[in-house]
């Protein structure tokens, strides 16, 4: 078991190093070169020379890479070109918003997807199953940003159930503790702020949940169908066990193993979706930051940090999923 963890950790490190090298190469080959990218219109020969020296671009490439890595490891990603603030600060402000949105979406996707997938499998071929399958197919075929606009139109313009955008009603102040607004409200006992944040969270979370929800329903359904054919389910029935026991201990405990893997893999899709969802709902998170870093002149230091952060999150989440696997599935534990 320990060997597996060590091997996976090594793989993680190798992946991240490879990625950082790619990012390094990418930054070196920006259109017009990194100097132009940094200076933009303010470029004069003097400034250029100064910056070349300051950034160490006159040194050998390997030395530069070593310095680049050293800065990464100390968490120094430089300053944002747009705002001039340190990149870590810029990202630190946006990151909790995206995590909050992503977690809410995942809760919806898993909380709705697993029961739906299970029921669809149990009622295979009936109308609930057909309806569910049709829904998942539609969910993966619809452009998510269009769905966002559609929901926004229905629930904020036609029936005023939810606010159209933002994370809080303007004018309402909250105390920032963790950056997760719903949680902050609870921690500081500002329950109205918490409720308001939750109210703002629902539509974007539903929009973002669409694709993971569709994927989880399909995987759960397929997995439950497989398990229902297993001999051990028949054994459980032959024991006369209660429905509840058979469903939980014998069907779901086995059927959810592949679902756990999928949840890990969905973190990537979730971030892709977050870029689009955040733009639709004007949600000030990483997704918005990415869009702003591209459209308002290319803010490369921020982009670079986001790329590394996104990969880190993905790799770590999947490592955790694999490790949790070892605890859920005894057959993995021994290996």
């Amino acid at each position: 078991m320990l060997r597996v963890i060590v091997r996976r950790l090594l793989q993680l490190v190798v992946t991240l190093i490879a990625l950082s090298a790619l990012v390094f190469v990418w930054l070196r080959n920006l259109p017009g070169g990194p100097i132009e990218a940094l200076l933009g219109e303010r470029a004069t020969p003097e400034r250029r020379a100064l910056l070349v020296k300051a950034l160490g671009y006159d040194q050998p490439i390997l030395v530069q890479y070593a310095k680049f890595m050293q800065r990464l490891l100390t968490g120094d990603f430089g300053n944002s070109i747009r705002s001039g603030d340190p990149v870590t600060e810029v990202i630190g402000r946006a990151f909790p918003a995206t995590i909050e949105l992503g977690l809410a979406a995942m809760i919806i996707a898993v909380g709705l997807g697993v029961p739906l997938g299970y029921l669809a499998a149990r009622w295979r071929g009936r109308s609930l199953d057909n309806l569910t399958i049709a829904g998942t197919l539609l969910g993966i075929s619809i452009p998510i940003f269009f769905l966002g606009y559609l929901l926004k139109d229905i629930f904020t313009q036609n029936i005023h159930w939810f606010p159209p955008s933002g994370r809080l009603t303007t004018g309402l102040d909250n105390t920032n503790v963790t950056g997760f607004y719903v949680l902050d409200g609870l921690l500081t006992r500002e329950f109205d702020a918490s409720a308001d944040a939750l109210w703002h969270l629902i539509l974007p979370a539903v929009t973002l949940a669409t694709i993971p929800l569709a994927v989880i329903v399909r995987i759960t359904r397929a997995s439950v169908l497989d398990v229902l054919n297993e001999d051990y389910v028949r054994t459980a029935e032959a024991k006369g066990l209660r429905h509840r026991t058979i469903r939980g201990r014998h069907i779901l405990r086995n059927a959810l193993l592949p679902v756990v893997t999928i949840i890990g893999l969905q973190t990537g899709a979730l971030l892709s979706g977050a870029v689009l969802t955040e733009k639709v709902y004007n949600w000030g998170g990483i997704g918005t930051l990415i869009v702003d870093s591209i459209s308002g002149g290319r803010d490369y230091p921020v982009l670079q940090a986001i790329i590394l952060l996104a990969a880190l999150v993905f790799v770590v989440v999947n490592l955790l999923v694999d490790l949790s696997y070892a605890f859920i599935d005894p057959r993995v534990r021994v290996r």
Binding site: T15, P143, F146, S272, V275, L303, A311
Partner: protein, 342 residues
Amino acid sequence: MTDPTTQAGAPAPAPRAGDERPGGVRERSIGRLGERKKARLEELAQASAEKGGVSLLRDALRRLRRNPVAIVGGTIVGLFILVAVFAPLIAPHDPVQRFAELTKTLTVDNIPGASAEHPLGSDPLGRDFLSRLIHGSRQTLFVGVLATLIGLALGVLLGVLAGAFGGWVDVVLMRLTDVMLALPSLLLAITLVAMVSKSSQWTVIFAVAIVNVPIFARLLRGSMLAQRESDHVLAARALGVKERNIVLRHMLPNSLTAVIVQATLTFAVAILDAAALSFLGLGDPDINRAEWGLMLGNDGVRYFEVRPELAYYPALAIVVVALGFTLLGEAMREAIDPKNRR
């Protein structure tokens, strides 16, 4: 009742050369055969592999034709391609022409709606929306097909290299796909577009294509690895077939069905990704270009509150076509799945 040639599992019914003895022994025993006998044996192995492949394919096609999901998906895809090919004949107007009767009353808050001459009204620049929608099928097909094919070609190349040679080639290539898969696909595409100073239709196509490279590469590698130890490849190797020919003539064809299925599914993803890039302002900047993702991601959402139809129609077109390709792809996957073979 059961056709004996369809009974063997995928990837292909294996012609048995020699028995189950370890490779070395078998090689020697075949080595003693006369050259003519050897050639004949190889011919037989080849023929039976081909025959197996054909009957498997025919079997899959038969199952496909009986599957209503495949029929629906195939019909949608077929109609889509027909419309794309004959767009100039179907569309009532030139998709880039601005009509005076439309621009006359056109403002940001008032985009002319349906009229007898323009059944779906105007777009924000006074062009015939229906004609743009119809022509949009062409550009959408173009972007989708190219992005899929480029992704497929690069992915297959990497996958074949990794799967066929193994060793360090495999390790390096798989690390590379790990890195690519570790990045959210849209972020990867955004990054790629951001690498060039100006986006164009080609940057979109490439960005969408690259995202799919690791998926094809993994698929191919898996299939190659599974076959490396299969009987028909061992047989070919024992007969002294060149390694390159084993890969190209024995292993690759057997992996292609899975690749075609994946490509069909990828097409749906590709047009959705292209639409997403347009929405983020990273799409094709050509204002004359009529492509559904572009129409939805730019004007569609920009004028959503003024005239939502500008979003509804391209969105509907994208959903239906993506659905069609997904249905067809899934039906194909089911058809070639040996589990469903009877």
